[in-house]
């Protein structure tokens, strides 16, 4: 979809990108709660929403990382075993906020990305 073809479409996508800084903070708070013993259901829900929205707005690198982590949690993998991928997701949220056009290449060239895929 060409988000540049219409001002309103571009605005919605830009606002999604702008929302990523807040989502990053929310994710980190949730992660701290899970590390302290809370159930990971809320973490999964955040990842699910992030993956769906990022893919829809064609922020593909970020969507792929979130989707992979969501799949791993769904399979029952412990959060403690996903810390590598979680750290990448937190970085990916930052990179995408700063420069969405370059973020995908940055994510895919990160060694943690390969480790997530092969986990």
């Amino acid at each position: 979809m060409d988000f540049e073809s219409d001002e309103e479409l571009k605005k919605i996508r830009d606002e999604f990108i702008a929302s990523l800084a807040g989502r990053r903070r929310a994710f980190q708070i949730c992660l701290a709660q899970v590390s302290a013993g809370s159930e990971p259901a809320q973490l999964r829900s955040i990842l699910h929403r992030l993956a769906g929205a990022a893919d829809t707005f064609e922020v593909k690198g970020l969507g792929a990382v979130a989707g992979q982590l969501e799949d791993q949690l769904e399979k029952g993998v412990a959060v403690a075993k996903l810390m590598d991928g979680i750290a990448l997701l937190i970085d990916a949220l930052q990179w995408t906020t700063e420069n969405p056009k370059e973020a995908e290449a940055k994510i895919q060239s990160d060694p943690r990305w390969v480790r997530i895929l092969t986990a």
Partner: protein, 131 residues
């Protein structure tokens, strides 16, 4: 959009992800339909009870009530039992199996991420409108 000078169809969008909901709303309005967003399953249920709708676009994973709960209530109500539903899912496999149960009534599944043109095509088909 309905043909022959009739009122455009009214479509309720039950989707908790704000930006996806706005994207759907934008596309549906651009195609000539009347669209409104319900940001969770509870508000979708309320709007279905109090207003008349021609179609429901329904996300599955939502707070308050999930999409399946909203759909169950819908099919159990005399007012809305026949409304066509387009369910949005990021988890295709399980829902596709569940979708084979005729008890769910008239609905289709659309996997996220979706192309907005495909979304409109599904809606036209469910509403019985020409392309």
């Amino acid at each position: 959009m309905k043909l022959g000078g009739m009122m455009p169809a009214r479509i309720l969008i039950a989707e908790d992800e704000e930006h996806i909901a706005r994207l759907i709303e934008f596309k549906l309005r651009k195609d000539g339909w009347i669209a409104q967003i319900a940001p969770d399953g509870g508000q979708a249920s309320s709007l279905l009870k109090t207003e008349d709708w021609d179609l429901l676009v329904l996300d599955i994973m939502m707070p308050v009530k999930d999409g399946w709960q909203v759909l169950r209530e819908l099919r159990a109500s005399a007012k809305n039992a026949a409304i066509p539903v387009l369910m949005l899912t990021a988890k295709g496999r399980t829902e596709r199996l569940l979708a084979q149960d005729p008890a769910w009534g008239r609905f289709e599944l659309l996997a996220k991420p979706f192309d907005p043109g495909t979304l409109s095509a599904h809606i036209r088909a469910l509403l019985g409108e020409g392309a």
